[in-house]
Symmetry: C2
Subunit: 397 residues, 2 copies
């Protein structure tokens, strides 16, 4: 149920009609293009054509003055929905939601200390789980944009080279260690030019909003391929995002201060008002026959590196970000075992399987398993919903 505090943006179709920009209130999808035609944004001087594009990018590129004005106007008119024509409303179940943003470049960070520590403990040295660079810079790598799909898209279990025992040759197989990663994606809302760096204290100006993100991963493919140049086929078979982009403005009440970083970071990463966002994140697993089981409860604030630091680091060498680029947070794991954001961590590499209510166990995902990530923020009567990203694993082709 999306409240008036949320007012996210997305792209929808009804039957086979053209794609349009929408928001959602409760479970009612609101046709923003229709509202624009009815003159509701006339004084805001926004070209109506931005609401009938295939993606949000042109709307986002108008800049936050304009997009926030649209948001405020929507909050005004949706406070009295009975005064709106019923033709602008659609039941959520009657529309199709699409990938809302045309993603240019996609970057995946690795910004949760607990996640990096867990991985380091399992695969490297428990006594020195974090690598030497980890607390000095927000580690990241480039990911694949083409295979990012919206919630509801299902995908086939990927195949590839596995080599569990490197004294033997690799073999070809569907992955046996299919995993998820609970992440948040940042949608870039403002471009910087090639050669220009973004100041860490101005970086939030470059954020349009956030989506839930599932960084599906094939752990066995990853193990064999990733040295020395990083993950490739273990990740690029599929990633998924929730359909509604939550504007950063909606999260203003949910800023939480965080402790200074130790060791002190280099000046270009030092924030004046360092904060994260208090957003509850949950992961549910549903088997083909079973019901939903919550397997993880984490929070967007479980990051060591803020999104502002990610943006400052990404551009410090002059790399240009464009409107519509996606920065994923990396797996968001908290300190408590139930907040670990991947099966790899939840089952500690498969050693401690998750027992499901139907009596079955999961180390990694089985065919026809469905994963649902949900998110929300709630405080002082204000609630912001992120909706969900839901996908089902189909058998290998």
């Amino acid at each position: 149920m999306f409240t008036i505090d949320t007012i996210p943006f997305g792209i929808f179709t009804v039957k086979n009609r053209r794609k349009k920009v929408a928001t959602i209130i409760g479970s009612q999808v609101v046709d923003i293009a229709a509202l624009a035609n009815l003159g509701y944004f006339k004084d805001l001087k926004i070209p109506k054509s931005v609401f009938t594009k295939e993606y949000l990018n042109e709307f986002i590129a108008l800049g936050k003055n304009k997009t926030n004005a649209v948001r405020t106007r929507l909050q005004e008119v949706l406070a009295q929905p009975q005064q709106l024509p019923t033709s602008v409303f659609y039941n959520e179940t009657d529309v199709q939601l699409h990938l809302p943003v045309k993603i240019g470049d996609y970057t995946d960070f690795y910004s949760s200390e607990q996640h990096a520590t867990n991985v380091g403990m399992m695969f490297r040295d428990p006594a020195n789980a974090l690598l030497p660079n980890w607390k000095h810079l927000p580690v990241a790598y480039h990911g694949r944009a083409s295979s990012i799909a919206v919630s509801g898209t299902n995908f086939h279990r990927p195949k590839g080279q596995l080599c569990p025992d490197e004294s033997q040759p690799p073999f070809f197989s569907p992955t046996k260690r299919l995993d998820i990663e609970l992440e948040m994606a940042t949608v870039i809302g403002k471009s910087n030019s090639l050669g220009e760096s973004v100041d860490v204290n101005e970086a939030e100006e470059y954020i349009f909003g956030f989506q839930l993100f599932n960084d599906w991963s094939a752990r066995d493919i990853q193990k064999w391929e990733y040295v020395p140049l990083g993950p490739f086929l273990a990740k690029n078979f599929f990633s998924s995002v929730s359909p509604w982009v939550i504007p950063i403005k909606a999260l203003a009440p949910f800023k939480v201060p965080v402790a200074p970083q130790t060791p002190t970071v280099l000046p270009y990463l030092q924030e004046e008002n360092r904060h994260l966002f208090d957003v509850e994140l949950e992961v549910y697993l549903q088997t083909a026959a079973g019901t939903e089981t919550k397997i993880c409860h984490s929070n967007f604030k479980n990051l060591y590196w803020s999104v502002s630091q990610q943006i400052a680091h990404h551009t410090v060498n002059g790399c240009n970000l464009n409107v519509g680029d996606l920065l994923a947070s990396g797996t968001i794991s908290g300190k408590e075992p139930e907040s670990f954001g991947s099966l790899l961590e939840l089952t500690w590499g498969g050693k401690n399987p998750i027992l499901l209510p139907d009596g079955t166990e999961r180390r990694f995902l089985e065919d026809y398993d469905t994963i649902i990530i949900r998110g929300y923020a709630e405080k002082d009567g204000i609630r912001v919903d992120f909706g969900e990203v839901r996908n089902t694993v189909l058998p290998a082709v």
Copy 2:
């Protein structure tokens, strides 16, 4: 000098007029959009609008039957240039060439055995220079598409974190080890759907053509950041391509068979008519005050993994390639030291500086150094030119 055997495709403007599709013969740029308006392709049933786009993507997406028919027609009419109106020709010096392809996703491979061996000898174990996975799969990682620019674009020396001595904290500095990588880029000409793999023996159907590629690299930034997720800021500050895309059809006479691979690769990587392309590649360094000095002479055939194998591997997990995606080869180093494709290898990590004719030395690049990569194939009176990619290093901002 581009011959009639080349007939590449590019995007040009004259003065401030709109972008159009062009080819080049000798040093005469040919306005293909104007030829289309004059009816030269009328019987080929090609929408004229594809020739007045900002990028080649829509032209390429027509498919090879159409694009090869245009190529053949151009060869016919350019064989008798005096029969064409002079208004379709422009001197190369009177036009501006642009990034020809809107790059969706960019992938960088690591497919030269000698390059991987050199790097392994320098940074790991000389006795076991190649990592265990290297001969089983074409190692690759995702790169940054937004910062790929066309020849002639200059860039500022990137800044970032350096940590040459990990017993000390990192510091912030312009890179002191700015390098190049001599590569060839493959332009994808046909899309596969998410979940669909491309057969290695059909993979060339997915190649539109090739460009020269310079994968500029900051070795000191790379050393500190790249474990465990691969290169990031060390690469994404800038990459560059030559302006003309050479259709794969032009390279048909230059296929050269290569020896079978040992150990035998998995079936999805086994090619029936395994071949590479015999294209000479040269790198020139020009200092601010000096003349061009050839510092490397390599060949596109110096690859262990063919582009077909790269495509089969990239898609074996169902990853979808799109028209306009770029696959770079990785540094193309041959066996002879003068064929090493980076300064890192040519100077062996800076130990053996290159002596330039003006008496100066180079370990890595200095401000105002210009790097020019050129390529050509020549055999039995047939010559195919790749032109050049030329960029100058400007001082750090």
